[in-house]
Amino acid sequence: MALTGVQIFKFLPKTNCKKCGFPTCLAFAMALAQGKISLEKCPDVSEEAKKTLGEASAPPIRTFALGAGDNAVKLGGETVLFRHDKKFFNPCALAINIKDSLGDDELVENATWVATSELNRVGQKLRVDAISVEYASNNSAQYEKAVKLVAEKAPDAAIILNCKDAVAAEAAVKAIAARKPLIYAATNENADAMANIAKTHGVPLCASAQGLEALSALTEKLQGLGVNDIVLDSGAKTAKEIIEHNTQIRRSALKKGFKPLGFPVLNCVIREDSILEATIASVAIAKYASIVILSSIEKWKNLVLFTLRQNIYTDPQVPMQVEQKIYNIGEPTAESPLMITTNFSLTYFIVSGEIENSKVPSRLAVMDSEGLSVLTAWAAGKFTAAKIAQFIKDSGIEGQIKHKELIIPGQVAILSGALEDKLEGWKITVGPREANAIPTFLKGRVA
């Protein structure tokens, strides 16, 4: 459990030598308690203190990367059970499972899909994060070849080695060591060999056991063998097992400070029915999984899963917002239409997307409304005629365009009278209520 600054201070050298960058040992202890700095900054701390403090100051759920390079996915590090308590930090990685027994063409096809799966939604880039290569052939050479091929065709994806055979796993790890693949999995039977491979090559290891008691024993054993970057697989199969095991794991780690379960969780949700697979994955995403393995990720599934993950992982205190300014869409001239909306990311991306679809070059004035949607902002008094008028005046847009016409969202048609009063000389036009009517609306004006 976390220690206070004063408790930590007792273990420090108390020489106030300042080598850590702090004026006193106490100041350093306080910063350490708040997680602002790491213990290594004090060069004189004793081995014994390191051991005690290292354990106590470690986060309740260990954080490390899945994969390597810019697209590596950060796992773990969560601090709450309910998103409204603070937020969930590190979005769960989505992985597609591929059998090594597929022909080369199919392997390449799947890996290429992952490599090109990137989507953009509300300003965030979403992509399939990882590929799990399953050892189905029972042939170590074939496995190594498939792993290499997949890794090469999906150069940014993290690789999960879905293989319980230590010999095959080791060959595969060696083949793509720089990609830092996750070995999935160490079990009671192969723990020593797998721990050795993970340690030697510095890759993370998934511990797999039936139930949380067996799993805790296994992770303690793996840690004893020197492996620290561990992922948990409790053997949960049904949605019920997923929600119960994952909840117990997170509670144990956060509320009891139970170290053997203080690691990110992996759930395998493979089902025959693809839509069912997606809903079961959503149970895992909402309830604490850090890695979800699926059998297929079609385009529609890519979109629904990412959207759900984005919803669960947004900051509940601060809505996603964009910067207040006048955005050019296409290459607007001095005659091009000027529209206004709020700075809620979702609103901005929907509206700007539809303006783009219209192919009519335009300006979109985005006003800071603390990240609220049009109607919410209006109801909360943050998108009022007075504020809009002020924003338009301050923006200096009047000097850049030849007309004085402002198009407002249809949902706030009610503002048009008051706006005409406050923005002298301006014409206020009420646009459509829904953004999907914007293309027809804009094209209609041009014609």
């Binding site: 998103r83 117990q248 069912l276 997606a278 979109l303 984005q310």
Partner: protein, 313 residues
């Protein structure tokens, strides 16, 4: 270190609400633990999904879901029977869309006739929903409550602006009542208090904290529902213990992702699966957050969520 199952016991309990009559009557709520954590509590009733139908053809529904009912949605009785007999619906939710002044502005009396016709054609419990027009619902739902007298229906939605007449009618005709507020736990609590202060039994209430679709505010509904459940169960707040409703279909089947064709947005994949999955995922999010009763549209989405629920219990 020995592993000990971290169990938490709740001081509160979700109220059990029954609706419908005879051997098709249903119960929702009754659990004394957070959603699906049966290792530490009892979950006597599984979440119920009601099939949504309308009193006029669903011309405003996107093709994917309109087509699923194209041979039966011409009239509400045929549509209701199809849901009950062919799709094995356990409950039906009839939305009186035609009464909305901007639609057909049908009268409360017209609505009462439709309700009687539907009720005499089906055996499964009926949920009766207004058109979500505050003033009009205040008269339509009063007539509806009377027309359905004796059937132990759920009627709704009572909102801050119209709850008084609707509560009185539900009380007089012995129905269950949906209280809807706008995505705010305090507003939900306040409305429940106002309604019970009129002498309406809290054990007959259902809370609708307002749904929102995946990608369009789902996270707000999700967290409001979780907080309502935690207040009712952990803090034993009696005003936060009614079962929760998720009116999923109407929020899902209007967002762009359930409507846009694959040729317009090739990167989003096939429209049919996308729409069905959008509804199923939204509904799954709701039940994980604590919803006891769902109103949904697409048969395939409902089937998927039923399978998900079966796996959860």
């Amino acid at each position: 270190m020995a592993y000990v199952v971290p169990k938490e016991s709740c001081s509160g309990k979700v109220l059990n609400v029954d609706f419908g009559k005879g051997n098709k009557a249903l119960n929702i709520g009754g659990e004394n633990c957070l959603p699906f954590l049966s290792f530490e509590g009892e979950l006597p009733n599984r979440p119920v999904i009601a099939y949504e139908i309308q009193d006029i053809p669903p011309v405003d529904w996107p093709d994917t879901v309109q087509n699923a009912y194209k041979d039966v949605s011409g009239d509400p009785v045929t549509w209701a029977k199809y849901c009950q007999n062919e799709l094995k619906a356990k409950a039906i939710a009839l939305r009186l869309v035609s009464t909305h002044p901007d639609r057909d502005n049908h009268s409360a009396e017209d609505a009462a006739i439709t309700i009687k016709d539907v009720l005499s054609a089906i055996e499964v419990p009926l949920i009766i929903l207004g058109s979500n027009h505050i003033e009009k619902d205040a008269t339509v739902l009063v007539a509806a409550a009377e027309a359905a007298s004796g059937y132990n229906c759920i009627i709704g939605k009572a909102q801050e602006g119209n709850y008084k007449t609707i509560v009185a009618a539900a009380l007089a005709h012995n129905h269950k009542l949906i209280a809807m507020s706008e995505l705010d736990i305090n507003l939900a609590k306040q409305l429940n208090i106002l309604i019970t202060q009129m002498g309406f039994d809290k054990e007959k209430l259902i809370t609708d904290p307002m749904c929102s679709a995946l990608g369009y505010g789902l996270e707000y509904t999700y967290s409001v529902m979780e907080r309502i459940r935690l207040a009712g169960l952990m803090q034993n707040d009696a005003t936060m213990q009614p079962p929760i409703l998720g009116d999923v279909g109407m929020y899902v089947w209007k967002v762009k992702e359930t409507v846009a064709s694959e040729s317009d947005v090739p990167e989003w994949g096939t429209l049919a699966e996308r729409g069905v999955a959008w509804e199923a995922m939204t509904a799954t999010g709701m039940i994980i957050a604590g919803t006891n009763l769902l109103i949904m549209r697409h048969p395939k989405a409902i089937e998927t969520v039923e399978k998900t629920i079966a796996e959860l219990i």
